[in-house]
Symmetry: C2
Subunit: 186 residues, 2 copies
């Protein structure tokens, strides 16, 4: 296993374990066992756990932005449908087995108070979602406040879906988003 494959395996495993159990409950030894990457290699790839946590979040941030953009690109019907499609994307995410909420919301809750870089990452990540929604509402000529409201619906859906374990909030948020969009585009 070369360095690149090891790094990928570590990041994949860490992302899964952090999500399942929380960051602090996953020891480096558990990560070694689960990933099959030796402790020595682990520490030469990521010199500390903090660095690893940040790397996991950064990669996740990029993956979410890419998935959001890719999902939006498949919707050719214009910004109105693209804004609503975000909630379909949320719905398929919520329905994944083991879904336990947004990694940034969860990690912020666990570490945000003591790790400023986690707070910054969460802030940037949530701003990216808002910016994506703002791009759609701007194209509709709707006021920027609408994007903030849609972002609240999306984040609320993530939280409630995570806590209740049901994907239903995605559809509820989509219905609410449609009302807000229609009212603004009136």
């Amino acid at each position: 296993m070369d360095a690149e494959a090891a790094e990928l395996k570590v990041l994949d495993t860490a992302e899964r374990l952090f999500d399942e159990r929380g960051v602090q409950a996953v020891g480096m030894d558990a990560l070694r066992t689960a990933s099959g990457v030796s402790l020595k290699r682990l520490y030469q790839l990521f010199p500390s756990k903090d660095v690893l946590v940040e790397a996991v979040l950064r990669r996740r941030d990029g993956a979410v932005r890419d998935a959001l953009a890719a999902h939006g690109a498949r919707v050719a019907d214009g910004p109105y449908e693209r804004a609503l499609a975000v909630f379909d994307w949320l719905g398929s995410w919520f329905a994944e087995p083991g879904f336990r909420g947004c990694a940034f919301i969860n990690t912020f809750g666990e570490l945000g108070g003591v790790a400023p870089n986690v707070t910054t990452l969460a802030r940037d990540h949530k701003e990216a979602l808002r910016a994506y929604l703002a791009a759609q509402t701007d194209a509709l000529g709707a006021p920027p406040a609408l994007a903030d409201q849609l972002a609240l619906l999306a984040n609320g859906a993530m939280v409630v879906a995570g806590i209740t374990g049901s994907p239903e909030p995605a559809a509820q948020a989509k219905a609410a988003a449609r009302v807000l969009l229609d009212a603004a585009a009136r």
Copy 2:
């Protein structure tokens, strides 16, 4: 200091420290130092940290339900205004110094994956908020789905306000809630 006062001091201190730093980052020794209650008394009041965490969350749950009901009782203008008033209440909460989000959302993020009782408590707590909103929308003759949507706005506002550190999401959510209420009561 009698047992009752000690318990109160422990719960107050634990709630504050858990919120500031997360649950796992607060050791029983730090709690002893910050509360002034000896380790021996601490363990005779709460036989384990798990029990203490649950007690903190249960008390917080009751306090939130009471505050919500009390705030609503001050709004005599009927269910429409009472539903909107929830977001004013959120706004004053978000503006408190050191606000870092909802304790149930944050604790679920940290421990929900490994502590089923935390998940249950968070679920019940969020259901109580939804039920309160449903009581208002029912009185308006609005469909029950509206309460779910308002709850998504409220939870989304908590998350975004916590992560960004701004109380603004309360006002944004209130504006969105008004649109949804008006559309449903049309």
